[in-house]
Symmetry: C2
Subunit: 213 residues, 2 copies
DNA sequence: AGCTTATTAATTGTATACAATATCATATAT
DNA sequence: ATATATGATATTGTATACAATTAATAAGCT
């Protein structure tokens, strides 16, 4: 069975997330359903579901019987998110170490070399995808779906931010080095080095993104 | 304006969370909308919104165009959740220290003494409420709404688990001591002691809850 | 028999109409 | 004049009907 078109509420969720990140709906804006019905050309119901999902991502706040408001996506917001993200990402990465098998390391290296190739072609979108796959391999081995789910939600936002504000060549080159450090620490089975590498990777990502705002 | 009745989707969300925690809908169960319509006596729409919200809490997984499945709420699930929770809770608690004012400490002590009174009356529900208020004072001062939101979501589940499986007198007595340790560390402005106290508090809560399953 | 392809049934998703609630403006009383 | 109550309007929430998709079943082919 081939993958079919996403349901309307998924498409609306993606569109609305873009509209929030791009600033079309800026922080504090009241999102009226009728307005969104007009903008996206669909009925209320898929919009209401998309709003619930975006509330789950922390992008909006819904007050029952009142309405939905857009969260402020500013430096403070990203700092807070990345501080939490760092805690979880470092924890999961270190945790994954015990479950790494040779074939997992191989997979990581394959994805890494693909990343380098995509970087050389300046294919930023491909880099984004490969970056996610790279970390997904690690997260899976951490064997903590609850933590992973939080990181996945963050990633939805980060991905949209990157697509909106771009990905500098310098940052991509640094990512290559940082991923290399992570791979080395895993091969060395060195949890301390891995913790440092994961932490460093997260901090740099945060700084780079905040500077783009 | 007085607080009015919750919307239907909120009530359904609460009911369904209870039904999942109690095991009426056990892990892996497919949740069909028609079935839920019958069980809760409301139409599809509020049920669909409740499902989205519970997916946000991590209690169910929705596959677009396929359906919703109940997550397994077992020891592994709670361990994973509490491991993540511990990271965030400890971080936020230590972080709050810099913002604590005398009146905040006073508020904490007031809530604590109320907790002791409720404990002496064996009013467990009141203990649950006061416990949440106690920690909310701290979370607010940590000034990281993103982290706080994750803890709040966890709390929805923990609260339901406690209401379902109960709260032992022994645990309540230990909570009193653990909260006392936290207050002392805050008064001493001692981040190391506070980190220890928060960590300890979280670990004990996890162990106690897991033993109730 | 085993596999593919139609056909039917079950289930999820969407649109629309209507009900409940909240918001805003206006009038009224003190 | 300020505050309070009253009514009109806008907005959110719910129910129902229908469309789209998936899953299950049966038919046909090699």
């Amino acid at each position: 069975m081939v993958p079919l078109a996403d349901p309307t509420y998924s498409r609306v969720r993606e569109k609305l997330r873009e509209d929030i990140v791009s600033g079309y709906f800026s922080g504090g804006t009241r999102l009226k359903i009728a307005e969104l019905v007009n903008r996206y050309g669909v009925s209320q119901m898929p919009i209401r579901e998309a709003l619930q999902q975006l509330q789950g991502e922390g992008l909006i706040v819904i007050e029952p019987n009142k309405g939905a408001h857009v969260r402020q996506i500013d430096q403070s917001f990203l700092e807070n998110m990345y501080d939490i993200r760092q805690l979880i990402e470092v924890y999961l990465t270190v945790r994954s170490l015990r479950n790494f098998q040779p074939r997992d390391i191989k997979e990581l290296e394959t994805l890494h070399s693909k990343y380098v190739k995509a970087a050389n072609k300046s294919d930023f979108n491909q880099c984004l995808t490969l970056n996610k796959q790279f970390h997904s391999v690690i997260y899976k081995l951490a064997d903590n779906p609850e933590g992973q789910q939080i990181l996945e939600k963050h990633w939805q936002l980060i991905n949209t931010l990157r697509l909106t504000f771009g990905y500098s060549t310098e940052r991509i080159q640094k990512v290559i080095l940082e991923h290399q450090d992570i791979i080395t620490a895993i091969k060395d089975n060195d949890p301390i080095a891995l913790e440092m590498a994961a932490k460093n990777h997260c901090i740099n990502a945060k700084m780079d993104l905040i500077l783009k705002l």
